[in-house]
Symmetry: C2
Subunit: 363 residues, 2 copies
């Protein structure tokens, strides 16, 4: 068996900021929560229409859910609760084995460096499930064969397993010198990121195909871009170019070394629904049951002001930036980012971004 | 269903010292490891002779093991590896379903305040199982119905779920004023601890009886005392009386308040094999397959010198003492303990202690 994580040495871990302080992910993930809220109805509908409980529960009265890239809450708890309640509703409305209580076990999974202590302390007291934490990368195996009924991953698989090697290799035509991302970079760099996505998605789907029961569902919520638009038009491009220019300023001031900046890239990829479709088709183990672009969730005004954007960015990237550049630059870097964000002309085109929901079913 | 931990409010958590510093449990659990080593052969034999793999695996090709009170390693990893290899050996030697690979999933469980981050970071790289952490008290439910094949708990169930209430109630005849334990106390106090053990063991066995599959095994390694000897003759009595006298000294010096000492008790009970037998019989869900006193493991000379004893005691009790008296007394208290331990006359009777192994099988 292949439970050991052979990819450990080369894979990167970028946990969300732990604890419950002002910069923690726990206090800076309201946007992701809004997105999950927009997806709720679609998830409920998919479970009601696409999940075949009779088959799934033929051999057991326990329903197993796994959330991948769970971070430390609270969003993972909302997502899991929604799924659980939808399954319960379906179970009771179909009067399946009504003599027996359906039990739930939920696996919260994230990188080993995730703050599981914080996650466990935050577990809702009135939860209706048995909880477990599973450390490891979702680009490898995490669970036994055919053991999970529903997988969930929200705002997770846009994190690549690593920065493509060529991108930090000064002898490669894909060397991404002076840039921290592919979005505003050369075609070579873009192709390197695209290839990494294809490789990672195959690992992801291959592992999940073994772990999920036949007929089981996989719910994915993914931040991406619409089909056919150039990478440089992605909304995140603006944010990352701003961050890049802050780091550049710090290089000029001698606070950050040029070498360190050259070897730093954000291992994230914003795919289009069509790109994911291609990955699923190449893998061949899943059918696409739902594929929907989620409505925009800007209505509450919680995003795109300088302060909130800075906090969100910091909660997500702080660990990675600290690892590369050291803790001492963090406050200055994000202060600078905040300042530059505010100074942007409000007329500037905000760029394109979508969140889309995919529900896959194991053949 | 009853996944929620209703006992949460009244139950106490006393995690072993986390991290990997000089006072950590990880670096001060060599004695427990020796005990586990002495038990290994007996555990192997029990699995070979008492485990009915055909029945257990009739519906699944995954074998589930749970270690209760796992702390942060490394002992839990050794224990789990031994069990896994014994099961694997049996599986292959009996050529059961040799066409399919047997997979293992291991649940490491301890209180929510246990350092799971450290545990996950220490997971062996070459492990042959899928790992998960489960936070919560083993005096309540932790797993779905009939989901675990082998439970293991070493040096765990001598921790009571709480200090008996009467013992810290100044209006009760069982008030344990000026003492931190039942071993050298009044009959009323001893009876209160005995009653707590009986109550806790019923909770423990009741929960496990639901979680374990029919024919599943539960392996318990318990530090206790021989049948029929008075509690005050227990080896731990010497240690705790010494600790008590150190705290008393600190009360006299005004470093520790008398009230705090009066309301402090170590929630531990050293049972005899016969007491456990009684609990198992009253519960009625398990048969006792093996019950053996383990050979003494003093040969390596790692225990009973002042320094090692102090370190071990500190690793186990520091959290609890810190909670009651504050962090600032820790160094002084254990320095004093070390000094008093060294000054003891070497002629003093060391007291009685046994470690015993019990293997229970679910009816």
């Amino acid at each position: 068996m292949a439970a050991k994580d052979t990819s450990k040495l080369s894979e990167e871990e970028h946990p969300m900021k732990g604890g419950d302080g002002p910069n923690s992910y726990a206090n800076n993930s309201a946007y992701q929560k809004e997105v999950a809220g927009a997806a709720k109805e679609l998830v409920d509908k998919a479970i009601l229409e696409k999940l075949d409980l009779k088959v799934l529960l033929s051999s057991s009265k326990t329903f197993l859910i796994a959330d991948l890239g769970c971070s430390i809450g609270p969003n993972t708890f909302f997502a899991v609760k929604n799924i659980l309640e939808a399954v319960k509703f379906k179970y009771h409305s179909h009067q399946l084995c009504s003599d027996q209580v359906l039990e739930f076990q939920v696996f919260f999974s994230d990188h080993t460096s995730n703050d599981f202590n914080m996650l466990f302390k935050s577990l809702p007291n009135n939860r209706q499930y048995y909880a477990a934490g599973v450390p490891g990368s979702f680009y490898g195996r995490l669970f036994p064969n055919a053991s999970i009924h529903i997988f969930h991953a929200s705002y997770a698989i846009h994190w690549l397993s690593r920065v493509p090697k060529e991108v930090v290799d000064r002898n490669s035509p894909a060397w991404n010198k002076g840039r921290i991302h592919y979005l505003n970079s050369t075609d070579e760099v873009k192709r390197a990121f695209e290839a990494q996505l294809a490789e990672d998605m195959e690992c992801f789907l291959h592992a999940r195909a073994q772990e999920i029961v036949c007929g089981g569902l996989m719910v994915l919520i993914i931040p991406g871009i619409p089909h056919g638009i150039p990478h440089s038009h992605a909304l995140a491009n603006m944010t990352y170019q701003l961050l890049e220019s802050c780091l550049m300023d710090m290089v000029r001031k001698g606070i950050v070394s040029e070498e360190k900046l050259d070897s730093f890239n954000i291992p994230m990829y914003f795919m289009s629904p069509q790109e994911l479709e291609g990955c699923v088709e190449r893998n061949g183990c899943f059918s696409i049951e739902v594929m929907k672009i989620l409505p925009h969730v800007l209505a509450h005004g919680t995003v795109y002001n300088a302060l909130v954007s800075t906090s969100h960015l910091r909660a997500a990237l702080e660990g990675m930036i600290e690892q590369q550049f050291g803790e001492e630059i963090l406050d200055d870097l994000f202060d600078l980012f905040h300042k530059k964000f505010e100074e942007q002309p409000s007329t500037s085109e905000p760029g394109k971004a979508i969140n889309f929901l995919v529900v896959l079913k194991r053949n």
